[in-house]
């Protein structure tokens, strides 16, 4: 087979294609976004869901139907999908389901650096982690096989360096999985308490079997070196460690959960000094020590940020002296021609208290605007803004505004808007939806509000303003903030003065996406007229 230079994301997409995946679904999120885009470009069937919970549920349904499914999201997306995830571990799956958790240690483009290895233990699911693109390919293929063998969703944890790094990949022969078909299994898939209790026992039994299998599996790689130093490690950190101390012995874990504690115990015994070198939280070290195996763990300061060759040297040298400060460089900022400038300018002039959300527009927090007072999670601007309105004295409550992007609104802002009409604050509330017609931050992906699918084909469109009106929001304004900035300022001032519910849709395409969006619209319009002509003809 061909050798190719691929990113980890592209390698997973290639693996999904070669594994015969019937459906790929997910929600864009750095560093996972390119997986589904590449899968689609390779000819796979891929679609964006409105959010990660829906994506996992669609994937789960497809897997109940016997299909092979790839579900992708970033680490914080797993939080959104956690509800179905934990119970999917009980029901299990029929077709193979691989769930990508793309973690972002160091927070290159995220609001936290949570370590999703915790999820595998908490939910009781097998988890694999690659250290480069070849392993991303191999482990994604292995993931589908494991998922079908143990009838469990398999989590494939990746990190930014593996997702976006490139290295050489050799693909294996493609396979054709079983065709989807439905087999009724009421006791296995309807999680009422009477059926869920035995399901939990079944899950633990599967995990015990998996653990025993893992001990001797090729997913635990031992490299014999000096008997003086042994290192237990995983993921890209294993690469850093092998470079830092090439003569050491290594136990590299590709299977992170369940941990092969028997192998780890024997390995620790075989060396004079055994150190667990891991990125993020001390997940392995805690579990290994809890099993009564004596290993060293890293100093607490190496829990923060990414691992690297020099940090591994520091961990092994017990060096906790101050680290060199990485180059600062120029921070990202709102594009000069971003349509949101007039919006932030108005918020500043009116001295608003701004409950913000996740996206490019979060950059409005930087000078000159400093136009955001809170940003926590996808969709949180609504709830946080409403909470502030409920408790602040009237003069301050009237200054509170929630702002959210179009894709983020569809993701989980809709629930917040329902809360707004259900429990309206006495002073009313103002929501600004920054509608630039794309999921800009992650690289301009489509979403239900654009009316186009992942590969830019026309589909049904979710109308932001029609949704707000249907909920009974009193004032729904659709404006172009760039066309008339003073008009926007006046409108916002007027709406803030009234104790009413308002949604302002500030609509203007992202300047980076505008030309592409026009292209998609023209292509779809041409396709429509061609179909009409054919029907009439």
């Amino acid at each position: 087979m061909d050798r190719k230079l691929l990113s980890g994301d592209e390698a997973v997409a290639a693996a999904a294609l070669d594994a015969g995946v019937h459906l790929g679904t997910g929600y864009p999120g750095t560093p996972s976004t390119e997986i589904l885009e590449s899968f689609s470009a390779l000819g796979g069937r891929a679609q964006w869901a409105p959010n990660e919970k829906v994506a996992l549920e669609v994937g789960l349904g497809a897997a109940y139907g016997g299909a092979r499914v790839l579900v992708t999201m970033k680490h914080v997306g797993i939080n959104v999908a956690a509800d179905p995830l934990f119970t999917a571990a009980y029901t299990g799956v029929t077709g193979g389901l691989v769930l990508i958790s793309a973690d972002d240690p160091g927070m290159a483009s995220s609001q936290n650096e949570q370590d999703n290895r915790h999820y595998a233990k908490a939910a009781g699911l097998p988890m694999l982690e690659p250290s480069d693109s070849q392993e991303a390919y191999d482990l994604a293929r292995a993931g589908f096989e494991l998922s079908e063998r143990w009838q469990l969703p398999v989590m494939l944890r990746m990190t930014t360096r593996v997702c976006h790094g490139k290295s050489i990949v050799v693909r294996r022969a493609a396979e054709t999985p079983r065709a989807p078909s439905f087999t009724r299994d009421i006791v296995g898939r309807v999680m009422i308490p009477a059926y869920a209790r035995p399901a939990h026992r079944r899950l633990r039994k599967k995990l015990d079997e998996l653990q025993a299998w893992g001990e001797g599996s090729p997913l635990v790689v031992e490299r014999k070196g000096s008997g003086k130093l042994g290192i237990v490690t995983a993921g890209v950190t294993a690469r850093h460690a092998r470079e830092a101390v090439p003569d050491a012995s290594f136990l590299e874990l590709k299977l992170l959960h369940p941990l092969p504690l028997g192998r780890i115990r024997a390995f620790a015994k075989s060396v004079e000094r055994c150190v667990v070198v891991e990125e993020g939280d001390p997940v392995f070290a805690d579990a290994i020590r809890a099993a009564g195996i004596a290993v060293e763990s890293k100093a607490p300061e190496y829990r923060f940020g990414e691992m690297s060759v020099e940090r591994v040297r520091r961990v092994l040298g017990l060096d906790t002296s101050p680290e060199p400060v990485p180059p600062k460089g120029k921070p990202p900022q709102l594009c000069d021609a971003c349509p949101y400038h007039p919006v932030y300018s108005a918020l500043r002039k009116l001295d608003c208290i701004v409950a913000g959300d996740i996206g490019c527009y979060t950059l409005g927090v930087l000078p000159p605007y400093q136009g955001m007072d809170a940003c926590v999670a996808m969709g949180a601007s609504l709830g946080v803004g409403l909470g502030l309105r409920h408790v602040l004295p009237e003069k301050d409550a009237k200054r509170v505004v929630s702002i959210i992007g179009d894709s983020t609104f569809v993701h989980t802002g809709v629930n917040g808007l329902i809360e707004m009409i259900y429990n309206p604050p006495a002073t009313g509330h103002v929501l600004i939806i920054l509608d630039n017609g794309t999921t800009a931050m992650t690289g301009q992906q489509e979403h239900p509000g654009t009316g186009r699918t992942l590969d830019h084909e026309a589909t049904n469109k979710f109308s932001l303003e029609a949704f707000a009106r249907a909920l009974g929001v009193k004032n729904v304004d659709v404006v172009d903030p760039v066309k008339d900035p003073p008009g926007f300022l006046a409108l916002l001032g007027e709406r803030l003065a009234k104790p009413e519910l308002t949604v302002i849709v500030a609509r203007r395409p992202c300047i980076l996406a505008a030309a592409d969006i026009r292209g998609y619209e023209q292509a779809n319009a041409a396709k429509c007229s061609a179909i009409e002509a054919a029907v009439e003809g």
Binding site: L5, T30, P31, A108, S109, D132, T160, R161, H164, G165, K166, S167, I168, V236, R239, H240, R242, E243, P246, S308, V309, E310, P324, P327, K328, G329, K330, P331, P332, Q333, L334, C335, C360, L363, M441, T442, G443, L512
Partner: protein
């Protein structure tokens, strides 16, 4: 294990830093080397600093260049020069944005490829592999202008030696 060559490419979002690192990685790959490339993208489109690490040799383990071990740093934006300098190893070479005269470029946007041309003078990768990598990374209407930019950088570096 043979020597691993470490190259950092740096600049600002929109300057083609990632594209240049793709071309370098691909040229080394086409020449039969083991290659690893690492970068952070996501917020980079918003005009912020962008850096990409490219490493190649017989076997590359970590995708990230250890602190102070870069053999070469290619910089597309003057503002990044001093920011990135601490990552260069002792005796390493910095290729600054003004290494090629901007006025000699048919298209200013091919500065990234011109600087790769300058870098190529110092690396033992045949010119044909570079041109193949450039053509694979860019649409056909940009092939000529970038091949010219590449040769301008390569010849400038050769002349200065």
């Amino acid at each position: 294990m043979g020597k691993v060559m470490n190259v950092i490419l740096a600049g600002l979002g929109g300057q083609g830093v990632i594209k240049a690192s793709d071309i370098l990685a691909d040229a080394a790959f086409r020449d039969g080397r083991d290659v690893k490339k690492a970068e952070i993208h996501g917020m980079s489109q918003r005009g912020g600093s962008v850096t990409s690490d490219v490493r190649f040799g017989d076997e590359v383990l970590s995708p990230m260049i250890p602190w102070g071990e870069a053999d070469f740093i290619v910089v597309c934006a003057p503002s990044e020069l001093e920011v990135i300098r601490p990552l260069l190893k002792q005796g390493g070479l910095m290729i600054p944005p003004d290494f090629v005269e901007e006025s000699k470029l048919a298209n200013k946007r091919s500065l990234n490829v011109a600087l790769l041309g300058a870098l190529s003078h110092h690396l033992d990768i045949p010119e044909a592999r570079w041109i193949e990598a450039i053509n694979a990374a860019l649409p056909p209407h940009l092939h000529d202008v970038n091949a010219k930019a590449f040769r301008l950088g390569r010849e400038t570096a050769a002349a200065r030696k």
